[in-house]
Subunit: 241 residues, 2 copies
């Protein structure tokens, strides 16, 4: 198995240049707010759906997680993740999240960062994670915000002197094919409501939503993030069983 996108050398070469892949969690402006949604992972088991190079799995292990399982569909990314830890609590597994099987597994914390918008059947995924979550356990994830996944065109425009984000097709859920580093990247657009209702239908109770935008201070340090106050780039959700 290989991930047609994240194993693509052309894509990967560009992807590695993102600050968050160069600097890790310190390069991800939203990480402090995502981390704030997480319960303590100390002495708890942690599942990372779409672990990539392993930034969050290493964080969980360093923060005392009793077991960490990182799943990803990209063999190239997993190889690098495996090479960057020798912590015996950490395990990596090549996995297609559209065919996730957690039979016989139990986790206290299910986590995912910027991955679930690639999953076609979210109901099936949430049903699977719910069944594999220990009593009192939780799920915390972020995804591209529906204002990012939905629109036909993803470019800010000037509207009578105001920079605006051109929203359309919000109500039309389904796949979107984008040019993102390379052509033909397929993501799945769902409304905020569908992310929330999907969790509820799978048996979760909602704890928190965050439509993340950078603070004014973050924009001052990273002027390119200005557009992210116009509309949030990420949606974060925390829920428990």
């Amino acid at each position: 198995m290989s991930d047609p996108l994240y194993d693509d050398p052309e894509f990967l070469e560009l992807y590695e240049l993102f600050p968050r892949q160069q600097k890790g969690l310190a390069g991800a402006g939203e990480w402090p707010d995502l981390q704030a949604l997480l319960p303590s992972v100390s002495n708890r088991s942690f599942l990372d759906l779409g672990c990539g190079f392993g930034w969050h799995t290493r964080w969980a292990a360093e923060n005392g997680a009793s077991r960490v399982l990182g799943l990803d569909a990209s063999k190239k990314m997993l190889d690098r993740a495996i090479a960057t830890t020798d912590n015996p609590a950490v395990e990596y597994r090549l996995t297609d999240l559209d065919n996730l099987d957690l039979e016989g597994e139990t986790f206290d914390v299910v986590f995912s960062s910027l991955t679930l918008h690639y999953v076609a059947d979210l109901d099936q995924l949430f049903t699977t994670t719910r069944a594999a979550t220990a009593a009192g356990g939780s799920i915390v994830f972020n995804v591209e915000h529906p204002l990012m996944t939905g629109p036909t065109k993803l470019d800010a425009i000037d509207h009578h002197g105001t920079t605006v984000w051109p929203v359309d097709r919000y109500a039309d859920e389904g796949p979107r094919t984008r040019t993102w580093l390379v052509e033909g990247v397929r993501k799945h657009h769902r409304t905020v409501a569908s992310w929330v209702n999907g969790l509820i239908d799978a048996g979760y109770s909602i704890d928190r939503l965050v439509e993340w935008s950078p603070t004014s201070e973050q924009v001052a340090e990273n002027p390119a993030w200005e557009i992210d106050r116009t509309r949030p780039p990420f949606l974060m959700v925390a829920a428990h069983v």
Copy 2:
């Protein structure tokens, strides 16, 4: 007490021309979906926050509610509501929702339609309704969607041949002064996350979100609603205690 907006004769004359004020619930395209979020009101008490001319209070009474209390800040609207029912289960009360006092009252169903975006202190309101909700009771409301309350300019634009909705200031919550029938209408912009988190913080459990857009069939019957598929005009939330 009088409502500076809804008691304004100029505003009211225009407001009465809306299909939903002429035809009642049959003129409100979203009502079937809002109604679907409501539990049975038969033999249950029903509180309507911002009852206006009383369309929903009469609906609750006709559907067997044991007690119906309609609250509104507009004396002119309440006078008309009072004149349109002689059902002894229905009561109307002139009330400013920014100073809501439900001391000693209990309701099974708290309801509000297109009103709460006028409320300045939502935390206080939700705390008050939560305290006045019976065990097993619920709250169901709709408001203008944050994609309606947020943007600086509320006009669809053409963007390379696609009709788009110009979103900006999504992250900047707070009051917005609009021209809506008349000048100087003040509404409060909150993100979807804040509507949900406000309920959770007050002690509610979230049951359902609906970011309502008309169906293609509704648009075919009402071509002016086309823009409402580009971005949802209403947010609906159902929660329970």
